[in-house]
Subunit: 391 residues, 4 copies
């Protein structure tokens, strides 16, 4: 199996990128920066890295961003960069959730491609507005559901699509953490604080933060669309304002069933994202804790341990692999693939052509689907667990 | 840690045992016989091993049962054995589900202790009658929820009870198989045929056959009682008469939540019974595929791999262990422990004393709870997933 | 795949068995008794259970052995049982190593079949005498290299024999424990005391106790014979009289190579017996910690996880399996298979026929090979790691 | 535990880097480039990327290296860069083995820091010359024994150093592959061709390519120095010119023992690098296949699964971690850490100060030790397995 990723730009000029959010003390901004450096398709040249101007400037300096492109606000940045001949071509949005929508709108309006963290917005309405704006502007819009970048997830998706599992009957997803087992937000811990604050996170806590990842992955691999769901959202930690555990029954269009469990209080789990898909002809199992493996059981035959870039790996996995099998790739490489795909899409857009059909990334529609998922789950739970149609 | 099980009778006379069901071609009868031989507490001396008299006789002969104690019907057996001075003291019932109740009643009425397979009966009413009869007769009644015999399950239960996990928030159980992925019952396969036949299985298919095991285990370990449930039962295989996949939301008394998934069409699973319990102070995870291990994470500390009879094993695990850690015990030893506990209870009853408080086995009340669980799940699913109070 | 084991005697009379050693406080005697009860082919009717007469009597009583067949010495037992019309047909020898030879000779001379623990004796000479006596008497002689009873080991052996791995290049074995990390023998612990005492163990400590198991397994699965070895035996614990760690380079006849590592001071290991075999066409990996699995990689294809009685399991595994795949069998069932095979061989001998060719058990020749292995390793190590020809 | 790596330059100017080797069709050059981009400490500005000038130019263009700094030979590059005011400060050497020495000497002589792939050279003599030159020039010299960059390897080293394992008794290492099971070099495959060619690889095949990695890791973690070894090198594939399997007995200074097994024909292994260390107080186990885990067993206590950046992770692991635990880091991040440490050392050298004592990287002395290891193993094997003193 040919390994194709990681081959650098092949002589292409790197895409000029800006970043909103991600300054000192942030977590995910640093992840995005490593991710886009891995395949060297982007160059970070501008930023509004913090809502606090002093920290924004200091953070920019640390990152080697020129002082005149270290902005105090995203509005200013969108305006100024759009006006420069060497202005940014794309922006990464790595703020808390409530800012995703406003920032994305500003840059789309300024004619700049967008790479945006998830969940897309804090309301379905805002997500729909964003989707409409993407449609109208024709800009590339990538949502960093990064787990879709793992090679063995690409492999799983390709196997389902090619019929290796037969007709899908069961899609089960879970994403388990334990870092919010106690009331961490009360200690001032920054990551916990905004994630448990409805004003910055939206109506969903755990469901928005990690439930949407599990949901996206289930859709991405199975190729199915959700028909309806039934949810019980729980807040186990006294004083917490949003859900910290989510349990959902799923009914997929076409008749498949499933369950989704996301938790931030399941002691013993760090980032336990796991997906299982079962069809009439085979079953798949994947876990982020060991992402270079995919378990595949053709019905009635021995279980196989497929490995990234190993025997049985498909081209869909190979094109997003960088190193030989047995040398583990991880979270950052999966994240890098989202950026590499974004680069391909942006280059195609610049050239006025369609990207290679092999190029896949989570779009604004996936982001919107995530918002509808959150919305339906919150409604279902509020109705004591009623079936709610999604989308 | 002292290993205590497997020490034979210590000079005790073996308990005289009969068996109903379990003749040639049966599966579980042979398992019961190995199980009670392991610790040598019982002696099989009588049987009504098949509803077909010829097979009953032939099966008895193979097992070394004297011809005059190889009965053609369980009624005859109960009558005759009760009348013998050397009659059986206990009976094992290993028939299809619909016979559990009638057979159990006959032997209880004859003053004979009962060890009965699960699910207890095919209706809640019959289970309640049985529970009342046990109460009235004072006989020992053991339901072979055999997974409760695994040492690391005993360990888990003890750890929860002692507060090692703090207050329990989440109890998640699953039991996954794939042997009914296709319509095996249409081929005449005996095990599949009765399990998918409402007349012999009762109102539940997968939920009765394996869902009740998962449910019992969840209750056994957590010490919790279920308050209400919400179920979607599915029949994926066309033409099948009972559910082959079960997905249930759980609300435990006291506020814990959970999910239970049982499936017989989840390709890639053989007997994937798994339990996870998470509390305010710790988390546990156990899987039957590797039953000598129990994962324990004290919140904020490294995950520990506890092993049967290894460092950290509690007396509750040791008293049902037979060999040193690292030498795996399995399904049959766990099953044997149910019989060993039954023997202790029967000897205590014979002596007119209470058994040692350490003696634990699934009782008729656990069997009744299982029937209520099936009943509630079937009702909930029929109501398109309504919350139904249990018990 | 048909499961064939565990079907009881099929109406056969149970074989009358005696036991030497294995009284109160012993470990392995209890294991042997559970093992032979599992498949119900033997009936324990006589014993010389301890070298201390009082303990011998008390132990016999606990096991339900009639007082007149509870002997104070093995010589008396051999004599008396040989004289009885209902005398034992076979004897299990579960004493410390130095008694294996004398006891086995006495019973062989008395015309009684022998099931003997390993290592066979304490010297090669004595082992050779025993092999000659077996040859002369024509009695069945089984050495309890019990790991050869695991179904997936049978599977592995069959796969190698059928050429699934091509020409074998590498055979690597290890057996790791940590229970002798400190000087446990100084505390009076009985198991440690005799195992570290040259008078009772022979010239090898760790190498005899567990190294021979690893060696037998390597030979049993690979079908190869060892040509020469080079060993470094270590005694890490100050004051210990025998080796507690053994590292050996192996040269197999035909050109394969390998290493064997056995240790009783490798902290973190309970009974870590592991075998890896690699050929020109495939590779196998098996570990006792998860004995129901066998990893098989056909060269250039995905790794397969074969399971006992699961898809891909061969008849050689099925005939020694008792329960469906996914329900783990363990150490005791593997041990039981040695007894079940012994029973088949003894019945065939009684009938004056050859046993079914499928019947396989470790013989006196395997026991002798083990002694030559110990001897060569001790010599090699004493010569500072010289190559020593084996056998 | 604080995560410290991945924080970019903190405003530092990036170090100017050149590369020798690593042009089109090479594997490891691409790995090095991803590795140094991850933490953004270096900027690739010059290269002699291939021994074939045309390919060298084309490769440079693809990587965005200016045409006037795309050299046709390393000699020219060393000369020209040393003469530029903006010349490279460091060079990465990613050629086949036989060029490491000549290239390294040229750049050291030109006053340029060196980051060099392993094994260091093809002879001990050349390695000693290089070590002397490093000593004389005072330049930073980093050997990319990249596995030393894994956080849990840092953790293991720190635990051994702090006495968590007590006195070390056993150090066992293995590195298993199967990609040379057949005679791949005969197909013209570039990676196989030079690795099996004595002219380009040196006297060792498998032992140089991967055996030295395992050896370095064993030394790095245990803190021990090897006293003597005894090796059997094998060439299993007919026609191959170098060893493809290596089995070695180890005697460490101070009395510890061990074995090292490296193979390129062990079917079923991709890059199975594994290390086990056992002392009087504890044991450790680590495998590259799951590099974010470290198994630790304090003697007599439950086994712990330590995770990168998780509970129990030490500062030594945290300072080379980039993302939270549960999000796997992999091979590329470990490799990046070697570059990040190199950057710290180079910046310290530029500032004329000692680097922070926490900064650790494999030095020219480690490279020399690797050459002595190869040399001793080849000699030992040639002498039919004699003990050979190392170093």
């Amino acid at each position: 199996m040919a390994i194709e990723a990681g081959n650098e730009t092949g002589g292409h000029r790197r895409i000029r990128l800006g970043m909103v959010g991600g300054g000192q003390g942030a977590f995910i901004g640093s992840v995005h920066r490593i991710a886009f450096r891995i395949d060297d398709q982007f160059e970070l040249v501008a930023g509004a890295l913090s809502s606090e101007p002093g920290r924004a400037k200091a953070s920019a300096k640390e990152l080697g961003i020129a002082a005149d492109r270290a902005y105090g606000s995203f509005e200013e940045m969108a305006r100024a960069e759009a006006a420069r001949p060497d202005g940014i071509e794309a922006v990464s949005i790595v703020t808390p959730n409530h800012m995703h929508g406003p920032v994305a709108k500003a840059f789309l309006a300024a004619g700049i491609h967008v790479i945006c963290d998830k969940p897309l917005t804090t309301t379905v309405t805002e997500a729909e507005e964003l989707a409409a704006l993407v449609q109208k502007t024709g800009k590339v819009f990538v949502v960093t559901h990064n787990y879709a970048g793992y090679p063995m997830i690409r492999q799983a998706r390709a196997m389902v699509a090619s019929g290796d599992l037969g007709e899908i009957r069961l899609v089960q997803a879970e994403y388990l953490q334990d870092w919010l087992t106690e009331r961490l937000e009360a200690t001032g811990q920054k990551q916990a604080a905004w994630r448990t604050d409805p004003a910055r996170s939206g109506a969903g806590g755990c469901i928005g933060d990690i439930g949407t990842h599990a949901y996206h992955l289930a859709c991405f691999v199975s190729g199915l669309q959700l028909d309806e769901l039934l949810a019980q959202l729980s807040t186990f930690v006294p004083g917490r304002l949003l859900d910290d555990d989510v349990q959902i029954l799923l009914r997929w269009k076409g008749g498949a069933k499933g369950m989704l469990w996301a938790s931030q209080v399941a002691v013993g789990n760090e980032n336990g994202l796991k997906l299982r898909v079962h069809g009439t002809k085979g079953g798949l199992e994947w876990a982020q804790s060991d992402p270079n493996y995919l378990w595949f059981t053709p019905y009635g035959q021995p279980k196989q341990l497929l490995t990234r870039a190993g025997a049985g790996a498909l081209p869909e996995a190979g094109r997003v692999s960088r190193i030989p099998s047995g040398h583990p790739e991880g979270y950052l490489e999966g994240f890098a693939t989202i950026y590499a795909e974004a680069a391909r899409a942006i280059r195609a857009a610049a050239a006025g052509v369609e990207p290679d059909p092999a190029v896949i990334y989570p779009t604004v529609h996936d982001g919107l689907a995530g918002m509808k998922f959150i919305d339906a789950a919150v409604k279902s739970s509020a109705a004591n667990g009623a079936w709610v149609r999604v989308g």
